[in-house]
């Protein structure tokens, strides 16, 4: 056996102690390495593949149906295709990048590596959230670029309505809120599979079914369900509703110059924004509290 000369600090030398960075700096540091881990992972490839498939299907349908009747205006084109697709992309990104983000720290024991260091638990939580948000943003931007490429082909390169940028911002707000909720569910479990399953079931169809049941059977506006708010991603294009005359009421031109007034059971834009902000704030705070109290048993 070879003996190693001790190369650690000799007797009397002081340990190497820098000033430990603050909460947010540590969170950003952690997010950089976590994001790097995501970029190299199979889950990132899977997410990009999902977006590519959605983009390919969309492009095929547009090509096969010669624009699918959506090329009359940029608002109709982007209002339908962006809003419809990005919600699915965001939900998948949330499940893939956030579903096991916190639960995995316990199950995979990566938490033991980080939590023995002089870091606050909140730094770990925020760092992982930032990394999941950034990775999801890459997926959203990828979908956006696919759509822009199709839009450029059918409508021309300059046909980018202002509402598209508004909708993009709303989509990011929705991503913030959804990830907040996903992280909250992830903090409730120490098993990654349970966390991912619960998040997937709830966001892929659970909340939608609940929303339909509440509004259809009980006739109560489901303002407290996050998926109720996601309609404003398309709502900002106002493509289906020509004029909002009041909350949940819109008018569209009818035959022979008449005006049709309809009740719409969707969130208004201020309502939707408020719901998303509230979801983000509440779930982030509750998730953080849960993580602070969780033990590495």
């Amino acid at each position: 056996m070879t003996t190693v000369e001790p190369s650690l600090s000799p007797e009397g030398s002081a340990p190497i102690l820098g000033e430990v960075p603050g909460l947010f700096t540590q969170a950003v540091l952690l997010s950089r390495y976590q994001f790097r881990d995501y970029l190299r992972s199979r889950r990132f490839v899977l997410m990009m593949a999902i977006v590519a498939v959605i983009g390919a299907l969309l492009s095929f349908v547009l090509y096969d149906f010669n624009g699918a009747g959506l090329t009359s205006s940029a608002g109709a084109f982007y209002g339908t295709l962006w809003a419809g697709g990005v919600t699915v992309v965001i939900i998948f990104a949330g499940i893939i990048f956030g579903g096991d983000a916190i639960a995995g720290e316990f199950q995979n024991k990566t938490g033991y590596f980080l939590m023995g260091l002089p870091v606050q638990r909140s730094s770990v939580y925020v760092g992982k959230y930032l990394a999941a948000f950034t990775a999801s943003l890459v997926a959203v931007v990828f979908y956006f670029l696919i759509l822009i490429a199709n839009g450029a082909h059918y409508l021309g390169a300059g046909a980018l309505p202002y509402a598209l940028w508004e909708s993009f911002a709303v989509a990011l707000l929705y991503l913030l809120a959804l990830l907040g909720s996903v992280f909250l569910f992830s903090s409730m479990f120490k098993n990654s599979l349970y966390a991912v399953l619960v998040v997937a079931v709830l966001f892929l169809f659970g909340f939608t079914v609940l929303q339909d049941l509440i509004s259809g059977l009980v006739h109560v506006t489901p303002w407290f369900i996050l998926t109720y708010a996601d309609s404003i991603i398309g709502g900002v294009f106002n493509a289906t509703c020509m004029t909002m005359v009041g909350p949940h009421t819109c008018t569209t031109p009818g035959p022979r110059g008449t005006v049709i007034t309809t009740m719409v059971d969707n969130a208004t834009i201020p309502e939707g924004v408020a719901i998303m902000i509230a979801y983000f704030a509440i779930t982030a705070i509750v998730g953080l509290i849960l993580f602070e109290r969780e033990e590495f048993t």
Partner: protein, 315 residues
């Protein structure tokens, strides 16, 4: 003098089960302390509370006088930890993992680079510096974890069974690393259930069973505790020894309280009186020309005390 590590009435219950019962322990100065106990004794529970991975039902832990429960970040600043077998993000290399650790600790980039090279050399992982951790064996991952705990050259090092998952060569290398660490001015507090490992590298030992601290003493004092108690010693002979020889030449030696034949060339004797008595018996046996080739305590002094204390607790 502020203790480097202190547990004050540290208690942890899981429902009705008491995993750690009112642990009071003060460890001062630079030394290596072995934290011993059978599986389930409460060693890892205590270490996890000392690093804020779990929370005490009552009591508090301090590192350099700073409460881990109230100021975790400040308390852990001067502390390197290795609790259980942590996993590192699989896609990162040891270099990247140590960069992360160093950055979170506030080390300067050039310090991180220099220390990364040193600690990876120390744990014999230099040639794997840029390979992905996800492809490593359990033992290799544990080496990187040890390197991470030493990166900032901390004053206090808490190691929870550091040789877990390592092959015999790896275990010997961990012992070398811990011995190397002792040359610096630091406290090493290391849990283990491998007595030979503790005897080999530690200066003091704390024994825990059923969540209670049975004793905390230096290894030298543990040896003294045995004086007066019978120690079991294994004898091996070059050629078969007759029963007559065993009774006249071995059993009759002062200090020998019992002789048990194992096979024609092996026997076990109980010797009362500690190391001086053992020396006298050895001299007599050599003088008897029975072809004695080996005279070895069946168990180390620590093992004797360990078994005695544990069995006291069981009864």
């Amino acid at each position: 003098m502020t203790p480097s590590l202190e547990a004050r009435h540290l208690t942890r219950r899981f429902g009705s089960f008491v995993a750690l019962n009112n642990l009071d322990l003060k460890v001062e100065g630079a030394k290596c302390v072995g934290f011993l106990g059978p599986n389930g004794a409460g060693k890892t529970t205590a270490l996890k509370m000392m690093t804020d991975l779990i929370f005490p039902t009552s009591g508090e832990a301090f590192i350099n006088g700073i409460s881990v429960q109230h100021e975790r970040k400040r308390a852990l600043t001067a502390c390197g930890t290795l609790i259980e077998t942590p996993e590192i993000y699989g896609s990162l290399s040891p270099r990247e993992a140590l960069e992360l650790v160093g950055a979170l600790r506030g080390m300067r980039p050039e310090e991180i680079r220099a220390r990364t090279r040193i600690v990876l050399e120390e744990v014999k992982m230099s040639e794997w510096t840029d390979q992905k951790v996800g492809r490593f064996s359990k033992g290799m991952k544990q080496r990187v974890n040890i390197a991470a705990s030493l990166l900032s050259d901390p004053e206090v090092v808490l190691l929870d069974e550091p040789s877990t998952g390592l092959d015999p060569r790896g275990m010997a290398e961990v012992r070398d690393i811990v011995r190397g660490l002792k040359k610096g001015r630091r406290l090493i507090f290391m849990s283990s259930h491998i007595l030979s490992e503790v005897v080999d590298v530690c200066d003091e030992v704390a024994l825990l069973n059923h969540g209670k601290l049975l004793f905390y003493d230096s290894l030298a004092n543990v040896e003294k505790r045995l004086t007066g108690d019978a120690t079991s010693v294994d004898l091996a002979f070059l050629r078969p020894v007759s029963d007559t020889d065993l009774s006249t030449q071995v059993a009759s030696v002062p200090g020998v309280s019992a002789v048990t034949r194992v096979d024609p060339q092996h026997a076990t004797v109980m010797i009362a009186g500690g190391p001086p008595a053992q020396a006298a018996v050895l001299e007599r046996l050599v003088g008897a020309r029975l072809g004695l080739v080996s005279f070895e305590p069946s168990r180390s002094a620590l093992e004797e005390v360990y078994l005695q204390e544990i069995s006291k607790g069981e009864s």
